[in-house]
């Protein structure tokens, strides 16, 4: 795994890169969730066998500088359009996790000539329920112990150095000061982008039909933050989307079931575009 920086206009992004050993392998642009992706996360090694992995940290996350006034979802979408422009590959598969799935869905709804495929993993981003129904808990107003209970099939499955929703309950002697500073930066930055409306764009659902690339909506079967039913409905709004659930995983299947997660992605990448469309 290598790390570096990527300059997109005034924004400087920390980027994890993993070149693929396979010639002609697709480029996989990963948009992380509430926390930046740990270089030690096992799914990265597994994924890199099938594609070149590029995983930036959003502005204010990880060690990327803060967003300044570019602190809305609108800014993130334009930023990642810039990242797609800057990547040398002609075609890119976009994989968005959780909060990053929301960014990916927004970007794909707007379209980009390099976008070849889309994978949404336990993604936030749309409003489905009625005005008195929450589609998911308010991450900032809910006790971390409850978030942990909802987020994982088994919190013990979380690999060392990776943190998901409810990360606060992992605070202890095993966590370094440097990790805490990064988690605090991530939490503050997520709040800037996502406090209200909380983790969704009320208009996005109207435009998901514009997504014109094969799409895999991949979900942890045990996700009680954003339920599989929400994921199925999400997929139903995207014309060329298929839904797949990963058993024994919660909100972070890439962390809890890395091999099953990568297998699902690889199966999807192996399909040709025409056959991928099976709602």
């Amino acid at each position: 795994m290598t790390s570096g920086r990527l300059q997109i206009g005034p924004a400087e992004l920390e980027v994890l890169r993993r070149p693929s050993t396979r010639p002609g392998a697709p480029t996989l642009l990963l948009l992380h969730g509430i926390n930046n992706i740990s270089p030690a996360a096992p799914f990265l090694d597994l994924l890199a066998a099938h594609g070149e992995v590029v995983a930036p940290s959003h502005p204010g996350f990880g060690k990327s500088p803060g967003p300044g006034d570019r602190d809305t979802m609108y800014d993130l979408v334009h930023l990642y359009r810039g990242v797609l422009d800057a990547l040398p590959a002609e075609k890119v598969t976009l994989i968005g996790f959780s909060f990053g799935g929301w960014i990916a869905a927004e970007l794909a709804a707007g379209g980009h000539p390099k976008l070849a495929r889309l994978v949404l993993v336990d993604s936030f981003g749309i409003k489905l329920g009625g005005r008195e129904e929450r589609d998911f808990p308010h991450l900032f107003n809910t006790n971390p112990a409850e978030l942990t209970r909802r987020a994982w099939h088994d919190p013990a499955n979380c690999p060392p150095g990776s943190y998901g929703i409810g990360w606060h309950t992992a605070i202890g002697d095993a966590m370094s000061d440097e990790e805490m500073v990064v988690l605090a930066r991530n939490w503050d930055s997520l709040c800037l982008y996502a406090w209200r409306p909380h983790l969704y764009n009320p208009q996005l659902g109207h435009w998901l039909h514009r997504i014109d690339v094969p799409t895999l909506v991949l979900w942890g079967a045990g996700d009680r933050i954003v339920t599989p039913d929400y994921g199925r409905a999400y997929a139903g709004l995207i014309p060329a989307a298929q839904f797949e659930a990963i058993e024994a995983a919660g909100h972070h299947p890439e962390l809890e079931r890395p091999q099953a997660f990568v297998d699902a992605v690889v199966r999807f990448l192996g399909k040709d575009a025409g056959k991928a469309a099976s709602p």
Binding site: H168, M180, A184, L192
Partner: protein, 400 residues
Amino acid sequence: MELWNHCENPYPFVPNEVLEEAESVRASLPNRYCDPRIVARLYDEVFDEYRLCDDLGLHIVTNEHHAGINNLWAANPVITGVVANITKKARILSLGTLITVRPDPVRIAEEYATIDILSKGRLEIGFVKSGATEMVSGDANPMRIREREWEAIDLIEKTLTTQDGPFSWEGKFFTHPHVNIWPRPYQQPRPDFWAATSDLPTCAELGRRGMVNTLLFGGYDRTRQAFDAYKKARAEAGLPPPGEDRFSYMAFAYVGDTDEEGLRIGQKIAWFLTVSIKSAPQFSKFQPGAVAPEMAPAAWRTGAARRPRPTNLDAEVLVGQGQMFAGNPDTVARQIKEFRTRVGGICHIIMMTRQGLVTHAEAEASFTRAARDVLPQLRDLPPVDGDETAWLARREAAAE
């Protein structure tokens, strides 16, 4: 010096077992535990206390908190309007409505202009940054609240003082294309501005703007540091030294007939700290922006809340830390005079007396003693730090 009465109108009537079970006594405690008939009685009592203070020569502070047992003044401008109507001569400080929570500062300026008219120019406008459970109750993003606070203050000031509008405002946090309030405020160009903060850069900005800086329970050292930052910023900006009327301090206070009574009843105020601030971690130390990221390890490892609070709640200890004034009238006058000297001069002492388990009758007795026997001892005191140049030289020498 001037004495002010600040009452948060708490609600100490929820059963202890409910409070112990609840993860937070603010924001998330269901309002089925709030009996509106009890609240109506409390409103009557506290309004009577305000009338008494008005008669006695004490001034009045109102504020607001939301959705909790600590404060029943949720709609501050409504309450402050009532106070304007039931009093005749007291200054009235709104400290304040929550400008970082409310979406439209122009509406806030309208409310304050209205209250200034109702009181015929007795309003003082106070600003608080707010945070914690208030962000949750008001669905206000807890990030960037300091920038949001200053933009709101700027817009409120322009709204109150512009007489040739309409004007347009397109800021980072607020937009309003057509600002032109009727009525404009009674006081010209506007009521005085106050702000509650101990954040040193904010104190410095208050100094440059000439706003009244009030500290809440900061104790001797923190208060002195805050006021020093205020004075230093003015000196560095080439502005005249501030008068003591630019400085204010809120403390718990009980004036008894005897020292024993003052401390005994003062001890009942500590409910504010022991019970009414209980808050869940997601509303406090884990709220975004609660601590700077580089400070997170220290805050999270020690379990510290977003703001350090006194841990020893014995009334005598609170007195020793400068967070409570309590005793007989002479004792309280001596405590306040000592505090004034140690913080480098101060004009306004805000007494939090009707707090916790203190009763209506006890509060009225304390206010009567404060006005009759304490306040006269605080009039016409000699300057503490009259020579600003000498003050700066002393501080610089101390720093070296």
